[in-house]
Amino acid sequence: MTLEIRGLTRKFAGCNALEEVDLSIAPGEFLALLGPSGSGKTTLLRILAGLDFPDGGEIKANGRDLLSVSARDRKVGLVFQHYALFRHLTVAENVAFGLRVRRWRTRPGRAEISARVETLLERVQLAGLGSRYPAQLSGGQRQRVALARALAVEPDILLLDEPFGALDAKVRVSLRRWLRGLHEELGLTTIFVTHDQEEALELSDRIAVMNRGRMEQVDTPERVYHDAASPFVCEFIGSANRVNLSRGARGFAAAEWMPGPAPWGDEVDRAIAYVRPQHLALDVSSAAGQRGWLAQLRHIYLAGSVAHLELDVPALKQQLEADVASEDLPRLGLRAGMTLHVSPKRAIIFPASGSEPGAETRWVWNGERAAAVVPARGERVVNGIF
């Protein structure tokens, strides 16, 4: 079903959990609500489920007002973070619950209920465990029981609150790939809440990044990662080096780095650039005419396929993190303690008002390799020269 959320506001004592949130969700879409704790993502999910009510705004489902429908009539499948299974009922009874509480006119017969439960348990790979109690299951199994229970009522939307939060890393990865497969099979509109960006990037069709009750960006995982719309998204998704720029005689500069003509007027005299660790070019040759900042390599943290380099840049009075593929370490001849030159290949730059960067106009800087980037609303793509 199509969901249209307009101007949704929810106030709790003293603070706004949601502020004028707009979001539309297409049928069959797999959407992640991503944000730090307290960003309002769970509040939004609970409002969609009918367990909480907004102070303002509206939600339309297929054009009809959803907020006037009670939770029990919404046809929303909800999977709680801690599953909220009925621990006095067996797995099969848990799954059958939503069917058994129906009015007798719409309630399927006993045989049909047990057949449907059986099918669902097979679908979530729990066939044969129907007579167990939740206490006898592992975390991943309980998670799938909660999912089967939510699917049993044939919901129009599936809502998942931190679906993998309570599981260990291995189970989490396998379960989320499985969930992605299940979504492709069922084609059910699915919204899930997470604070784990990796999960959101891997699973979803679109990510809605939330911060302090506001939508920061709603976009595909690729665009959220590569074309962050706001400073918050830059810092929250992946890791990014934050470099301060100030306006000098020849435009904005951070020590030796000058990205070129800025898209802003003269009223902006300071800016902040976000550079991803993999967008830092390293130059270890000692020949003259090297570009970039002189840096000392403090540490090499080997994290599997990627190595994180901790660089000390005296000219900026700060540390930078650069990522290289582990197998490139010997080829580049990198070792702790050496000095090298480092320069950004790509950056997203925001004008700084006061100390916090503002989101007004984004400057996507693509270094010298002038890749044509289609500018979005209110942004200019400028290629600078080092």
Partner: protein, 274 residues
């Protein structure tokens, strides 16, 4: 034997058994020994005596009815105390324990004064043809009073620990309020309710002090078994008294055993190997 992580199992079990032996088992054994003086035939004769039978019926029947009333009322009070926030909640919470603290004789005298035909409550009830004091009804009232805190205090913590998400899950699956209550809340509360019921019942069966003041103690009518035992003692009929005591003990034990089994059944979902 498997190695245990917690130390002192042997010591603590031995200590417990000795305490239990001196405080509980020894008096009970003495009771059984004294009662055995009457013999099986004597016991059967005792049970055949109409007065003893009436007293036993009143003690157990009244206790059963009082425990049932306490279960419903206690559950409601626990529900209100846990689920709602209102001025005076803490005061009400503290009042629940009062029947524990009050000397039973004081409770009995207070209840008698209240329910006597010229008392505050007894007068209007008497005008409607209902007599409470000096009748079986009065016995029931006293038994309800002394057993009241048990159900509240056993149900309250379990209800407070009940996860609200479980009810939200039930609602989101389409359950109406009464369905959530009957299918989710009540089954989860049943073990605690049964425990409270058993405690209230046991307390009411053994209650003496408050009942004798309000009961009027008419033989065959409002005389409870513990009073009959005291009377037999006063007549130096030690064997008869201990025989009646032993009968009460057996009945009480049988009832508590059944309740314990029921309680175990009601929480079968919690006691399973993982």
């Amino acid at each position: 034997m498997r190695k245990r992580i917690l130390p002192g199992f042997g010591l603590s079990l031995g200590y417990t058994m000795i305490c239990l032996g001196f405080i509980v088992l020894l008096p009970l054994a003495a009771l059984a020994w004294k009662a055995s003086g009457v013999g099986i035939m004597g016991l059967l004769q005792l049970l055949d005596a109409p007065r003893a039978r009436a007293a036993l019926m009143l003690s157990f029947g009244g206790a059963f009815a009082a425990a049932l009333i306490n279960t419903v009322a206690g559950f409601l009070v626990a529900w209100v105390l846990v689920r709602y926030r209102f001025p005076g909640r803490r005061v009400l919470d503290a009042l629940v324990d009062l029947p524990f603290a009050l000397p039973t004789a004081v409770a009995g005298i207070a209840l008698t004064a209240l329910y006597a035909p010229n008392g505050w409550l007894g007068q209007p009830l008497f005008d409607h043809g209902i007599r409470v004091a000096y009748t079986r009804l009065g016995v029931g009232v006293a038994m309800v009073f002394v057993g009241f805190p048990f159900v509240v205090r056993t149900v309250q913590p379990v209800l407070a620990a009940l996860d609200r998400e479980i009810e939200e899950a039930a609602e989101s699956l389409g359950a109406r309020r009464w369905q959530s209550f009957l299918r989710v809340i009540l089954p989860l509360m049943l073990p605690a309710i049964l425990t409270g019921f058993a405690l209230a019942l046991a307390r009411a069966v053994g209650e003496y002090g408050s009942v004798i003041f309000i009961a009027g103690n008419l033989p065959m009518q409002s005389e409870i078994a513990p009073l009959l035992i005291v009377q037999k003692l006063e007549e130096f009929d030690y064997a008869g008294a201990s025989a009646l005591g032993a009968v009460m003990l057996v009945f009480a034990f049988a009832i508590l055993l059944v309740l314990a089994l029921l309680q175990r059944w009601s929480r079968r979902w919690a006691e399973l190997p993982a």
